[in-house]
């Protein structure tokens, strides 16, 4: 069986996708499990000082950098053509593979997350100085 790798990208090349890679997994709170869509994962910012990226997820800060991939990644889409009107053809459930994008860079976060919880306060100072954002 032969499946052609279709590429309609043309001369300009393929549309560029992006990748943000970090260690471990992001956990969504149980109450949000079924309605992930449009939920914010975190905020990504670029420090003008050193080209350092910061990814803030919940109360964690991740530190990372942007790198070019040694070997680009192609984004492929597998289409299963189960067109019932073509059932009499021998290859009625033809699989098609199409290049829909390319990835040349990624933002990689490989350090341990830094928890954005303030320094431990001595009992005397009480709650002064704690961060105002809610911690879950």
């Amino acid at each position: 069986m032969e499946i052609k790798l279709k590429c309609g990208c043309g001369e300009e090349g393929c549309a560029e996708w992006a990748i943000v890679k970090m260690q471990g997994a992001v956990e969504v709170q149980p109450s949000f499990q079924d309605r992930l869509q449009n939920l914010e994962i975190g905020r990504l910012c670029l420090s003008s000082f050193q080209g350092n990226y910061t990814f803030t997820v919940g109360y964690h800060d991740l530190s990372g950098s942007r790198m070019s991939l040694k070997k680009p990644l192609l984004v492929l889409k597998k289409n299963k053509d189960g067109d019932p009107s073509k059932l009499d053809e021998p290859t009625s459930s033809r699989v098609e593979l199409e290049v829909i994008g390319i990835i040349r860079h990624r933002i990689l976060f490989k350090t341990r997350p830094k928890a954005l919880i303030s320094r431990v306060q001595s009992p005397v100072k009480g709650k002064v100085g704690q961060t105002s954002s809610t911690v879950h």
Binding site: V20, N38, R43, L44, P72, L73
Partner: protein, 370 residues
């Protein structure tokens, strides 16, 4: 959008990374790692995936074959497409990728080609006029081979050439050895009758005469290709065919040994009788074709051709060590010379598949199974 992430330098503020409206497993989206040098093939639609359901798929460019391996990751890889939520300050994630597919260059899988071609070998007993659908069992056209063999087009053609296949009526065929021998004998017979020089056979003449003897033109040409070499015709321009002494003599040695093993003297006598006059033999011609055995004081010889052995390294070495437990380097070399594994040298092959021992420092190394 991906641009939001990639062009962050132009943004002074931070951007929000969110789960896209259509976030999901999207098992139909696959990441494939690819070398920059293969990109032109991809962009020009010259890449295909080949393989049946029960086989591991391979990716083929016009001339190279690659195995596809999935490499998983425990990292979180957020995939952000260039389309999606339109806001410039938002990058939405469509999928968390579980890993990527990687390419590993491999040798083309030509064992299947060999097997398919053997299904219906040509032996002259075919009347093409009467051939209908029912006669097409075991017959394959180029497109049929592409559908079934996991090799790039260039490697598939090279395989057909290596197996001495010929295209007859659109079907790729190998010819039965005994039949080919008959054609060669006719050629030699005719060259004596017509006074042809075996060093300068004229293709049209040879093909014409053999055709009038009842052989297909394709078969006549195949005979010249199998047993001869094309050389420039210094006199008349163009080219002529010069019979290859080694290939012709090996053919006759094989036909002698078809009877089974025999004593060396007996073999040499029969061999000498069969070879065309003007040709001379040397024992070195038979490397990779015969094995010698000492039984008592006599040496016996029998057929053991590399062309009958498996094509893949593991199976090839297994077959060799089944035949003989220990091999000396000189004897082994002709039987592994044709093995090709990308990234592995001849020494690497030996290292991987054999155990090497050397009785004394100046003795010949011996190879045995691992």
């Amino acid at each position: 959008m991906a641009e939001a992430v990639l062009n962050l330098e132009q943004q002074n503020s931070s951007i929000s990374i969110t789960y896209d409206t259509n976030f999901g497993p999207h098992d139909d989206i696959i990441l494939l790692e690819i070398d920059d040098k293969l990109l032109p093939h991809v962009l020009n639609n010259r890449v295909t995936i080949r393989g049946n359901v029960e086989e591991d798929a391979v990716l083929c460019t016009p001339s190279t074959t690659y195995a596809l391996k999935f490499v998983g990751t425990t990292n979180s890889v957020f995939l952000i497409p260039p389309f999606g939520d339109v806001e410039a300050s938002v990058a939405s994630v469509i999928k968390v990728a579980p890993g990527v597919m990687e390419l590993v260059e491999v040798a083309p899988k030509l064992e299947k080609l060999k097997m398919l071609l053997k299904e219906n070998q040509y032996n002259g007993n075919e009347d093409f006029m009467e051939m209908g659908e029912s006669c097409e069992i075991g017959l394959y056209r180029w497109d049929d081979l592409v559908e079934r063999v996991q090799a790039s087009d260039v490697e598939l053609r090279e395989g057909l050439r290596a197996f001495s296949a010929v295209e007859i009526n659109g079907y790729w065929r190998v010819v039965e050895e005994s039949f080919m021998g008959m054609v060669l004998n006719m050629l030699l017979h005719n060259s004596v009758l017509s006074g042809w020089s075996l060093d300068g056979l004229v293709e049209n003449e040879v093909v014409g005469v053999l055709e009038s003897d009842g052989f297909l033109r394709e078969i006549a040409r195949l005979c010249l290709e199998m047993y001869g070499d094309k050389v420039e015709d210094e006199v008349g321009g163009g080219y002529v065919w010069k019979l290859n002494e080694k290939r012709v003599c090996v053919h006759f040695a094989r036909s002698v040994l078809n009877e089974g093993k025999m004593k060396m003297e007996s073999f040499m006598e029969k061999w000498m009788q069969k070879i065309p006059s003007g040709m001379s033999v040397s024992f070195e011609m038979l490397e990779g074709e015969v094995l010698l055995e000492k039984l008592g004081i006599e040496t016996w010889i029998r057929s053991f051709s590399v062309s009958s052995l498996p094509l893949t390294p593991a199976e090839r070495f297994a077959a060799l060590f089944r035949e003989r437990q220990k091999w000396e380097s000189m004897d082994l070399e002709p039987y592994i010379r044709d093995l090709r594994v990308p990234g592995l040298s001849a020494e690497g092959l030996l290292l991987k598949y054999t155990r090497r021992t050397q009785p004394t420092a100046d003795a010949e190394p011996i190879f045995s199974a691992r």
